[in-house]
């Protein structure tokens, strides 16, 4: 029966069940990740955003909330063009952050 609306699946995040290993390791390797203020400049300029909704801000947020699939799908469209690095008001080397993140497994280990 069509009510003209539907219920979307719950997007509640249970932080108790989230594995922070990958985020913690990232912070260890790229401490600048902690200085992100979530301003969204990276999202606004991103070349890959129209294709995948890529945004460094969302990646960092997603990592902390255990949205691993979402993070991976965003990362897999990044073209490393460097615009986000240029506009970041905190001077975070976002390309380094993205590349480091790509080297980490979900368990937070650097793949060799």
């Amino acid at each position: 029966m069509d009510f003209g609306f539907k219920l979307s699946p719950s997007s509640a995040v249970n932080l108790d069940t989230v594995d922070h290993a990958r985020y913690d390791r990232l912070v260890q390797l790229v401490p600048d990740a902690l200085t992100c203020i979530g301003c969204g400049s990276c999202s606004a300029t991103c070349t890959a955003a129209p294709w995948s909704g890529m945004s460094v801000r969302k990646v960092l947020l997603g990592l902390q909330r255990g949205r691993d699939d979402e993070v991976d799908s965003m990362l897999s469209k990044c073209m490393l063009c460097g615009k986000c690095t240029m506009v970041c008001p905190r001077g975070i080397n976002t390309r380094h952050l993205i590349l480091t993140l790509c080297r980490l497994s979900r368990k937070g280990e650097v793949v060799r």
């Binding site: 300029t45 294709w51 990044c78 073209m79 063009c81 460097g82 240029m86 506009v87 390309r95 790509c102």
Partner: protein
């Protein structure tokens, strides 16, 4: 000349023979290893050039000019040029003349390997020797030349500023052993030849020295130990040679033919890359040249140390050095041997393992392609302007380019007015070549759909990759600085020249060293104002510090590099700094004390 010893042998030649056998054996094995490690097609091409007369002549000429005379070094620094060519060419001549002497006077001994080297010990002068006095004179002459080079080398080691180098390489222990044994070889040869000069004869150097020594040394007992010392010094030098920077001497003789054959780095550690690492003479010219060296802590991240770490197999440092580099290419521009620092680093980056690899195959570029088809209005030809990521970040360049194209009456359209893809160059710089190929294929699809005949780019980063990696038959790939210069020269753009305006042109790394474009942008800038030059320009221009090449340098670490580049640009006190790269522009604008403009903006303001 007659022989002093019937058997033509003395035990002191044994250390020399050991050293020679070791170094020859090592080099031959290393040479075959490198050739075998080349990919099959490359190997075939290389071996073919070895039997092609044109290449044979080219190889001999290049080896003679570069390895012996050091022509490139002479052009750069006369003192260093003299120092290196005196030792290399002088040594070569001494060996050659030694053989000549044996052939002329004792041809029955030419099969003895050591005879030309220790000739003066084994012979005694006779009446007929007078015919050889020219040879003896030349021997002493070249020995003197070498000794002058050694003196310069010693001065350089302790006060490198005198020969024009601010910094020189910190030598490893093995390098020091090699260096000191090399320094010892020629004074010992002079002493040894002097002690026997009254028997074997000599010339202007050895005979007076012999006379002086004889004034206070009563007998000849010290002659043999000195010949021993000379032989041992040669042995030490040759035995450590493969593990020191002096490996560049034999390596360069293989590098030059390989480069002439057009071989490129295909594997980060094997084949041509290995040969380049061996060929690094660790002279340290790249240390002063590297834009990162502004920060003293980054001196150890220069190409010379990358090569050393590659030889040592220090993976941690290799990764660190490879990722830090700006890939500006200046080390290659100044390198006497032409070691390709950036290419070596990209090859290291390529071998890195990733848990997550990007994939762009799902991106649908059909809407973009149909937009350009629609924009062309059914006509083929015309200009397709690809702004690229960085130009989108600096919209003033895009506006100025559009305005200039309209003023010149060019039929054009934009490839990426709203959304676009990256050109792929940043991925290549990060060592993700496979992924870059996907983007290249997608972009090429759009360009072919448009039916354009010219692809215009305002970003040198894009320009380089479009030029080198895209296979766009029938489409001319052109950078906007070149395109506008042509429009000015062809009279389609009328530029008013402001004589009072002093402009300096900054060579972007990717446009200058990357693509060899230096003069066209300068002519275009000169049409708008008075062109002045920076302190270092053309191939030696200093990177702005914003390069996408570096993966790990942080903003704070880049700032002193940008400041240094700006100081270099403003030595002639220009009114404006002109560049042709949106990334340089964005980097400079933050710290410059005067206006920084893109070449398109400057031209548009004067049209």
């Amino acid at each position: 000349m007659r022989e002093r010893f019937a058997n033509g042998f003395d035990p002191f030649v044994i250390p020399f023979l050991i050293g020679m056998a070791f170094v020859l054996g090592y080099c031959i094995v290393a040479m075959f290893r490198i050739i075998i490690q080349l990919p099959k097609a490359d190997r075939k091409r290389f071996l073919l050039t070895l039997i092609t007369p044109k290449y044979i002549w080219m190889n001999i000429r290049d080896i003679f000019l570069n390895c012996l005379i050091h022509v490139k070094l002479w052009k750069r620094n006369k003192v260093l040029g003299y120092m290196h060519s005196s030792i290399a060419f002088g040594w070569f001549m001494i060996i050659l003349l030694g053989h000549l002497e044996v052939i002329l006077f004792l041809p029955n001994r030419i099969h003895l390997f050591y005879y030309p080297i220790f000739f003066n010990y084994f012979v005694a002068e006779t009446e007929s020797t007078i015919q050889g006095s020219l040879l003896m004179f030349l021997m002493d002459f070249f020995l003197l030349i070498i000794l002058s080079g050694i003196v310069l080398a010693i001065i350089k080691r302790f006060a490198s500023r005198i020969v024009g180098m601010r910094r020189t390489t910190r030598l490893s222990l093995m390098d020091q052993v090699g260096l000191y044994s090399l320094w010892a070889i020629f004074p010992l040869r002079l002493l040894a030849e002097s002690f026997t000069a009254h028997i074997s004869g000599g010339s202007f150097l050895t005979i007076p020295a012999n006379w002086v020594f004889r004034q206070f040394l009563g007998n000849d007992l010290h002659a043999l130990p000195t010949w021993w010392a000379y032989s041992i010094a040669l042995c030490v030098f040759m035995c450590v040679l493969p593990f020191t920077r002096y490996m560049h001497i034999p390596a360069e003789m293989l590098l030059i033919p390989m480069r002439n054959a057009g071989i490129r780095i295909r594997h980060p550690r094997k084949g041509f890359a290995l040969l380049e690492v061996y060929s690094c003479p660790a002279c340290g010219v790249c240390i002063d040249a590297c834009p990162m060296s502004v920060r003293k802590v980054n001196c150890k991240d220069t190409t010379v140390y990358l090569n050393r770490m590659l030889r040592r197999g220090n993976e941690r440092r290799i990764e660190e050095i490879s990722d830090k580099c700006l890939l500006c290419g200046k080390c290659t521009a100044v390198c006497q041997v032409g070691v390709q620092g950036p290419e070596l680093r990209i090859a290291q980056r390529e071998r890195r393992a990733y848990a997550l690899s990007p994939s762009y195959s799902a991106i649908n570029v059909r809407p973009l392609a149909s937009a350009v088809v629609h924009g062309a209005g059914g006509e083929s030809g015309g200009v397709l302007y690809f702004a690229g990521c960085m130009t989108h970040l600096t919209p003033s360049i895009r506006r100025a380019t559009a305005s200039l194209l309209d003023k010149a009456g060019v039929r054009w359209q934009m490839m990426d007015p709203e959304n676009g893809l990256c050109c792929g160059r940043p991925l290549m710089m990060a060592g993700r070549t496979e992924q870059a190929r996907e983007l290249i294929a997608k972009n090429a699809e759009i360009i072919r759909a448009s039916g354009c005949d010219t692809l215009l780019l305002s970003c040198p980063i894009c320009y380089k990759v479009f030029l080198e990696e895209y296979k766009l038959e029938g489409v001319r790939v052109v950078h906007h600085s070149v395109f506008f210069e042509e429009l000015i020269a062809g009279g389609q753009l009328q530029v008013r020249r402001d004589d009072g305006l002093k402009l300096v042109f900054h060579d972007p790394c990717e446009l200058g060293r990357g693509c060899g474009i230096y003069e066209e942008p300068r002519r275009a800038v000169a049409a708008a104002g008075e062109l002045v030059e920076a302190g270092k320009h053309h191939a030696e221009a200093i990177c702005c510090g914003g390069s996408l090449g570096s993966l790990t340098l942080s903003y704070d670490q880049r700032r002193p590099m940008t400041r240094n580049a700006l100081e270099n640009l403003t030595v002639a006190n220009p009114d404006q700094i002109v560049t042709a790269c949106p990334l340089c522009l964005a980097t400079f604008v933050r710290q410059a004390d005067r206006p920084v403009r893109d070449i398109a903006e400057v031209l548009d303001a004067h049209c």
